[in-house]
């Protein structure tokens, strides 16, 4: 799915970005966010969506950080043979 290609209603250039396009993209982003607090999800302002998006991206970064750290500690205990097993299991 090439969302950028299907997005441009003009002749393929972004020279006239309309508010509608922006709102479309913002609501698309909104759908990706984990809904924790918002009861009225259709009434969230674009600024709020962007703010939540920033928070979400930061939390995803932190999550990968924590998981990588955990993996690093785990790799201290596994040995090469097991690593090869893991690899072959997931390559199927």
């Amino acid at each position: 799915m090439s969302s950028r290609r299907s997005r441009s209603r003009q002749s393929g250039s972004n020279s006239r970005i309309t508010d509608d396009q922006i709102n479309d993209l913002v609501s698309k982003l909104h759908q990706l966010l984990p809904e924790i607090r918002n009861a009225h999800s259709d009434k969230v302002s674009a600024a709020k969506v962007l703010q939540e998006t920033c928070n979400y991206i930061r939390s995803l970064h932190r999550e990968v950080d924590d998981l990588s750290e955990r993996l690093s500690e785990l790799l201290a205990t596994t040995d090469n043979a097991q690593a090869a097993i893991i690899r072959s299991l997931l390559m199927q």
């Binding site: 969302s3 972004n14 006239r16 922006i22 998006t53 991206i57 998981l67 750290e69 040995d79 997931l90």
Partner: protein, 162 residues
């Protein structure tokens, strides 16, 4: 079947294959002190780079953010080889989406601070107009969740093999 599109299952498998290859390389030099805090930290850094690399290479140059990440990774490894720590290359100049600059200013002003914050979080975001920024962010988030999932699964498997 797989037409090089963002198909979650194929992104996962592309990412996982690369990531596991990198992991086995990271895990390869088995020294006696492989569980010292310093070694653990160094391995953690390498895992992080491997995760970012795997993600960017799985998406290749189809996205502005992945191009920015690839460029940053290459620049960093190049400058490390040259041992010139002063040269922190900025991501800004390579990925230009400078058309629609007035739109960036207009809509960017409406969404103000949040858009600027987002630009700093998404690789290559500084040079994107608002439309691209929002589009790239959506794709970036999907890939980040895939990345987290794959690293998590890697951890589970390592745990299972202990």
């Amino acid at each position: 079947m797989d037409l090089q599109n963002l198909n979650p299952s194929s992104l996962k498998s592309r990412f996982t294959a690369r990531f596991l290859r990198a992991l086995t390389e990271i895990n390869a030099p088995k020294t006696i002190s492989s569980s010292s805090p310093r070694e653990i930290f160094q391995r953690y850094r390498r895992i992080k780079v491997a995760a970012d690399k795997s993600m960017a290479y799985s998406v290749r140059s189809r996205r502005i953010w992945s191009r920015a990440t690839l460029w940053r990774l290459r620049t960093r490894s190049r400058s490390r080889r040259l041992v010139s720590f002063g040269r922190r290359a900025s991501v800004k100049t390579r990925t230009t989406a400078s058309h629609g600059k007035e739109n960036k200013e207009h809509h960017g002003a409406v969404l103000g601070v949040q858009a600027e914050e987002l630009r700093e979080l998404v690789p290559g975001g500084e040079a994107m107009d608002l439309c691209n920024l929002l589009d790239e962010t959506a794709h970036y988030i999907k890939c980040l969740t895939t990345q987290g999932f794959c690293v998590y699964m890697g951890g589970l498997l390592c745990e299972g093999c202990c």
